[in-house]
Amino acid sequence: MARTWQWFHRWGSPPHVFHAGRQWQLGFGVAGFALLMLGWVWGLAFAPVDYQQGNSYRIIFLHVPVAFLAQSLYMAMAAAGLVLLVWKMKIADLVIQATLPIGAVITFLALVTGAIWGKPTWGTYWVWDARLTSMLILLFLYLGGMALRPALPSDVAGRAVALLLVVGVINIPIIKYSVEWWNTLHQGATLKLTERPAMPASMWVPLVISILAMYCLAGFWVLQRLRTLLLLRESKAKWAREWVGEKYGL
């Protein structure tokens, strides 16, 4: 237990996050790029066509990874929000700031790819069913989090954003179970943790690879923003000046 806390506090220290984060960022970037190439070339060029949808189903290799990611990034941010509210770790606030716009872009991408897929398969870009609507609410939560910070005095803004995000977690199970609780146009889950996927391995293996790739790339992107924000906030600290001095000879 003491070890866990030690780890927890080490990741609260800006220079540690900045320097160790650099290694992680590199790893995520390389792994994400390689996996994405593998997953997409396999999925888009070699996976078999679908018996009903033909080739149009192949947008699944983008739509499903970003839709998963939109929810996971939200959960990560909400966890950071809880850490900020309870433990008052300042870095959690930066994690939220770093993740918010990325999550918004990813959620927007999930909605847009879904609409593009919806037109040929369903016959419509948009329908107000529970899954699509709850995803739209997720986008609004991201945008709301982004808009709330500049609207409040800076001493409470971080905590207000964190509270909004933590309460908004309720939307996540609604998104997940919307297709089971209500009649929706959106189909149920294809990939389930407890069951065999409802597609052959020649389709789900490239899909899972694409999902992993997207998570790695998100890790890369979040760390990039987080490290930049850290440097900006701590620009007067010794470690930051040393790093900038070494890097740019200032």
Binding site: Q53, W122, I174, M203
Partner: protein
Amino acid sequence: MNPARKQKLTLVLLGVFGVSVAIGLTLYALSNNINLFYPPEKVVAGEAPEGTTIRVGGMVVDDSVVRASDSLKVSFQVTDYAEKVTIKYEGILPDLFREGQGIVAEGQLQNGVLMADVVLAKHDEQYMPPEIAETLKNKPTDEVSTY
């Protein structure tokens, strides 16, 4: 954990729990409006209102699709394996429309027949290559996930 943090954590979690209960009850109360469509069973039972626009969803019954020879008029039945509802529509049907396929039609009920303005195809979570679909069709059971 120090008591102040524990108290804060409890407070936040209680708040989240309270809001979840409130939203859960709201969604439960609204569940009729959140469902995208009525299943045929409810339409036949008279639970769907006549004269206002509603949606009805179900599987297209085999051999029920009748197309007019001189127009785009089409009539077919949908089922939820309990009851059937006849749907009439004029226009181009989505590519995925076929017998045995799930669809959602939007329109108005007239004497138990839905006069549809929009027909949307619903697809399920199954994806498979055409060859496997072909072999499955020739099998009597529908064990779709056996490969």
